[in-house]
């Protein structure tokens, strides 16, 4: 391993430090000069773009359209929906003025006190309020429904402790906001989008997720139900990867959005909202990567295949170039993204370590002997296994290998996840298990009091009531603390 891996902490030594270092060393993101706001670097952004494109296609395939709503929200809007303000109003960036002026001593600029806004504006922490104030003008009758809008946007929540991708003051996300004529249709939409998120996480990110519904205490501020997909990171902590909310008529009531139904009756509109963010980058990194660096699923890797020549002299390089050129063309013709790195200012060993660090799924190497034998060395990033293959048909082999890697890293993550879901029946067992990490299936009496006691004493939270569960988990039982009746087991864990 070459220079840049020096100092990459091992996961077993300090998982949290390993993550922080990896994000920076792999050129994904870095802290900016503005507290809590990150710079997403080109390589990190390229992965995010692939996620965006895929999610956007999936949203459109389910009938959604994109739109754009204002960044700023009048302060008074936040207090319209009572529960919503409780959950969100606290930590927001507040715009109070709209002009600067040259300072009296001419040395810089100061806020112009005469340019004070009559009503302060908040940088959106989420857009339910501004969007429902807009929908009021779009909706009169059932004929105007459903509205199935999504927006790709930046949002801001003034977090005190931030970590790149996982928790930042500003982050990028998409937020879907839909309006429906019936409760049933809105509930179905909220669940449909959760399944879209689940499909995306599993089939593209190769991150297995548990789908389920949040406890009342963990619901989105203003929602009647919050659905979630929960991943399990390699350190045994859960990560909430995406949520979809059934909002009932709460925002319609707060913003007075009514419609005339088919029977000519006036009623409030039913709503959902759903979002995933750059936090998914954190889930992607923490699910698959290892002590050598990133491991990326081929479907989201900006570079799927890197080819590196090893040569003694310019003449040999020219021969390798000629040979590799056809392979590059054929791979690209198959829709595979290929980088041929024959730059002569870096040694092959340096390149190898760098592409491993960056998680490029497949590496092909051609040296002098390979040239003679019409072979290449194939290295797969997920297992680091190498083999020598004939150049004949290597393109088809690589294509199959990319599929195999995609499936393998999913299987590996699934096996890990499944091996770390444990049922416990007593609080003592629970506390021991939670220390070990992983998901715990336990009985809970359904009260917020018990939930909060568990959180306080063990730092574990109820991640969700899973949709899928084995027969035994669906049977009633007794709460492990209070001994009160429990309808079924719920999923708990310490979480990011």
């Amino acid at each position: 391993m070459a220079v840049e891996l020096k100092g990459l902490t091992k996961r077993s030594e300090n998982y949290s430090q390993w993550y922080n270092e990896l994000v920076v060393k792999a050129d994904l993101a870095e802290q900016s000069a503005v507290r809590g706001c990150m710079v997403i670097k080109p390589y990190g952004y390229a992965i995010w773009e692939k996620m965006q494109r895929q999610l956007d296609d999936m949203f459109k395939a389910t009938g959604h359209v994109n739109a754009y709503f204002p960044l700023l929200i009048p302060k008074s809007y936040l207090s319209r929906e009572a529960e919503h303000v409780e959950g969100f109003a606290k930590e927001c960036a507040v715009v109070t003025h709209y002009r600067l002026k040259t300072s009296a001593d001419g040395s810089g600029v100061v806020v112009d006190p005469e340019a004070k806004l009559e009503e302060e504006l908040i940088i959106r922490p989420t857009s339910e309020t501004i969007i429902w104030s807009t929908y009021k003008n779009w909706i009169n009758s059932y004929r105007d429904l459903p509205i199935l809008c999504n927006q790709w946007a930046n949002v801001m929540r003034w977090e005190m402790r931030t970590r790149l991708f996982l928790r930042t003051a500003e982050f990028l996300w998409q937020e879907g906001h839909t309006a429906h004529a019936t409760r049933e249709e809105a509930e179905a939409e909220a669940q449909r989008m959760l399944h879209v998120y689940g499909d995306f996480a599993e089939n593209f990110m190769a991150v297995p997720v548990v789908k389920g519904v949040k406890s009342a205490n963990e619901r989105f501020a203003g929602a009647l139900d919050t659905y979630t997909i929960e991943g399990l990171m390699q350190d045994g902590k859960a990560l909430q990867c995406g949520t979809s909310h059934f909002l009932g008529q709460n925002f319609a009531k707060a913003f007075d959005v009514k419609f005339i139904d088919q029977n000519n009756r006036l009623d409030y509109v039913w709503a959902t909202s759903w979002g995933v963010s750059t936090r998914l980058m954190g889930a992607l990194i923490m699910t698959h990567s290892d002590d050598n660096g990133l491991v990326l699923p081929p479907k989201l890797a900006p570079i799927q295949v890197v080819i590196v020549p090893i040569y003694k002299n310019a003449d040999q390089l020219a021969q390798i170039n000629a040979k590799v050129d056809g392979i590059v063309q054929r791979l690209r013709g198959m829709g595979i993204s290929v980088k041929y790195d024959n730059a002569d200012n870096k040694r092959p060993g340096f390149k190898f370590a760098d592409y491993e660090l960056k998680g490029v799924p497949v590496r092909l190497v051609m040296g002098g002997r390979d040239l003679e034998n019409n072979t290449m060395e194939v290295m797969r990033r997920d297992t680091l296994e190498k083999e020598t293959r004939s150049c004949d048909g290597i393109e088809e082999y690589v294509r199959t290998l990319l599929d195999e890697i995609q499936q393998n890293i999913y299987r590996k993550a699934l096996d890990y996840r499944n091996a770390h879901i444990v049922k416990v029946n007593t609080y003592d067992e629970f506390k021991k298990q939670i220390e070990k990490g992983g998901f715990v299936l336990a009985h809970w009496d359904g009260t917020t009091a018990t939930e909060e006691r568990i959180k306080e004493e063990t730092k574990a939270t109820i991640r969700c009531v899973p949709f899928d569960a084995d027969e035994e988990s669906l049977q009633p039982g007794v709460d492990m603390i209070t001994g009160k009746l429990s309808a079924r087991r719920v999923l708990m864990a310490r979480a990011y």
Copy 2:
């Protein structure tokens, strides 16, 4: 024409009002509850997405990558580059606090006075300062150069008078920020990107543009040269469609960004920046549309072909559906976006007017007689001409027609533009000509004083010194006001 066109002001009556109404009636955008900030509605956003996708492809084809930098900029950054702060610092949204709290009477939320920021943060009006403070950490040696980054982002300038798409407080844009080892390379980059913008405007938007360089007075704040593409709207006013700036070493000096060159000497880095915004939507609308509504270039139309059935009864509709289905599939197979609108809650005449308003380039209609004759009525939006064609081979005909429409609206706009470039030699002529609208080629002595006098007296500005000019325009002459020497004719107009 059906109901929704009632009240669309004619261009000849009031061009400005026609524009404002059209943007709203065609469902492109609307004012939001936040002063100067617009809501981009799904149909408008779908056009913007097509622009984005195409521009992004063109940026990537010229070697650029995307990244993301913070929304907020420390106030002090703005005053680092002296000219930059003059041009931008004045009208900005200023974040002064990071928390709200429940008001004393419990009725709402107020800004928490204890959560005052030590240094105020500005919502980016443009990102040179935050990006160059970041590049400082990315650049040490010539090996780190060039950096060719672009970001898609929202920005905010607190404009007093706003108009949808043309001038809004918040708008969407892309901003390229590149760093280079030599002056020559940076200058070439700034010009290359201007040509990318020009190609995009002409070949995709079908908007002919004059490419050139701005006068010193009209330069971007902090630039050594600003290149521009200038369009001419149907009312004879110019619209600046995009700019590309050669920034010299100004921002590198302001943020102390140096590199070691190949001769081991330390030097400041050379910079460019370039951007286009949702303002392009305004250019698109004002260049092509007519009194019936939008006219969209097929390459950017979200729906390229709409098919409407006219039927007497369910049986006839079923027969039309069956017939149309194959045509829809074949058109989609050619990559053409098609909408088949057989909804039965709107009359055909209403649909016709609505799709005309929305600028769908080609409309196909099948009625009972068409069904018998194996024909369809084909209407092209640009000329409103109709003809009846056999269904056999209609897909190929439509594909060719879409190309023809794309070329025709460009040709039409080009003819208009070329007919409205007039040379004048005296200030009297100039004033008369400017009243009529259009571009004027005149001699100018190169001083800001003369330029400002012209602006004050006629509201005309120097749009650019065009790259392409006929032989006569390149000859020296005398300034039409001062009689002083003029190196060549420059392009002037009243502008948006």
